[in-house]
Symmetry: C2
Subunit: 217 residues, 2 copies
DNA sequence: ATTTTGCTGTTGCAAATCCCACATATTTAT
DNA sequence: ATAAATATGTGGGATTTGCAACAGCAAAAT
């Protein structure tokens, strides 16, 4: 089987299907050097890209000229207006952090009814819906975090998702403590203090990025 | 033209198209009394509903048995796993707040390639993608708010979106000040204090729900 | 007409959080 | 191997925010 079997966008599609889709969707692969611009996102759904090799990110230039990295991409990740629809008045682009190979699919051909009305086409659409739904879920989970009123609640909520994900009370944070503070939108020193306080209260054991939740309930 | 022309889900679809789709999608309309359960959402995309009449909401029962209203629906609004995909371990349902009429579309028939590969079908799918993208954008805008570190920044960010929306420096808040505080996840009295401080600093004029932004930049 | 309920506006005080500064690992680059 | 950059851990002190309480007002219910 080809490389694409590992890509969520193409789950359920075999070699035969890929061959058929490649023509039907006008798939094309482009190469980019680190630092190059891969695509610009508009206010309408019209592009769909897939990172085949290398890493990149989506950045947003706000009206004050401030540039922020909004999403990070690596092999297998998709981007496009379906997943991030910029406001009309902002400039938004996907940039290569390393040398990349990126596949583009023509949006018009995705939505347009396939002359052969092939099952592969339907599967691709289904996969896209799945990806869109998961993206929403992810965003919801994040807002759920942010709406928590106290630092402790934020940490616990986040740790809880990690516990579920790893299926274990002990896990390693997938990022540095500094980054975690940023992610939770709190001050790092305040977070360290709160972590200590949670250790003191017997809620968890922690050392560097290793956390063990106690008091399962 | 029919009532459905005003519904985002059916934009671009005429009477003829609706007739064709109705059979093709196995559309069916059900009635519910206030308080009744309209649907349960699972962890897989398999349902799509549309409020034709009446209001309702989506609620989530978390593992501790705490119930929260997550989304509110009125005429023309859609719901389903595409828009809110619950975690496997949670119970999630749509409930009627008033007497309702709700249309259901069969998800299998939406994704399955249409034997006639009709353009209406393609348009519906396209509309669904559009709705999914807008849902994501909305969530992103909200997280953007919540990631702001200070109360003042939260207020300004929110007011800025209202200014854009209304196209005017003066506007009426679409909710009570109390609800706004909840929405921004801050204490109401703290918010009132901050509003006063912003008035003192000449950033805006405000009285009750009426806001006028000064210092446009 | 009266009561009840909810929204607005304000205050003192307590608690949580942020900012800054420093010391020590640990990792990365040269 | 050495230097530089980044990550971790801690603390003091200023600031922001949350909490609780109250009063005036307006809308809605009785």
């Amino acid at each position: 089987m080809g490389w694409f079997t590992m890509v969520q966008l193409f789950t359920g599609i075999d070699d035969e299907g890929m061959k058929q889709l490649a023509g039907c969707m006008r798939m094309r692969v482009s190469r980019y050097k680190a630092g190059e611009r891969i695509a610009e996102l508009s206010g309408k759904i019209e592009k769909l890209g897939l990172f085949i090799e290398g890493r990149g990110h989506l950045e947003l230039l706000d009206e004050d000229g401030v540039c922020t990295r909004v999403e990070e991409y690596r092999e297998g990740d998709v981007f496009g207006e379906l997943f991030f629809l910029p406001r009309e008045d902002s400039y938004c682009s996907v940039e290569a952090d390393e040398d990349c190979r990126v596949m583009f699919l023509d949006w018009g051909h995705i939505v347009r009814p396939c002359p052969q009305s092939c099952v592969y086409h339907a599967r691709l659409i289904s996969n896209l819906f799945q990806l869109a739904a998961e993206k929403s879920r992810q965003l919801s989970a994040y807002t759920d975090l942010l709406t928590k009123r106290s630092l402790r609640q934020k940490l616990l909520t986040y740790f809880e998702t990690l516990r579920r994900e790893y299926g274990s009370d002990t896990f390693l944070l997938p990022m540095s403590l500094s980054s975690l503070a940023e992610y939770l939108c709190v001050d790092r020193s305040a977070m360290m203090r709160e972590l200590k306080s949670m250790r003191d209260d017997g809620l968890l054991v922690s050392q560097k990025r290793q956390i063990t939740l106690l008091r399962r309930k």
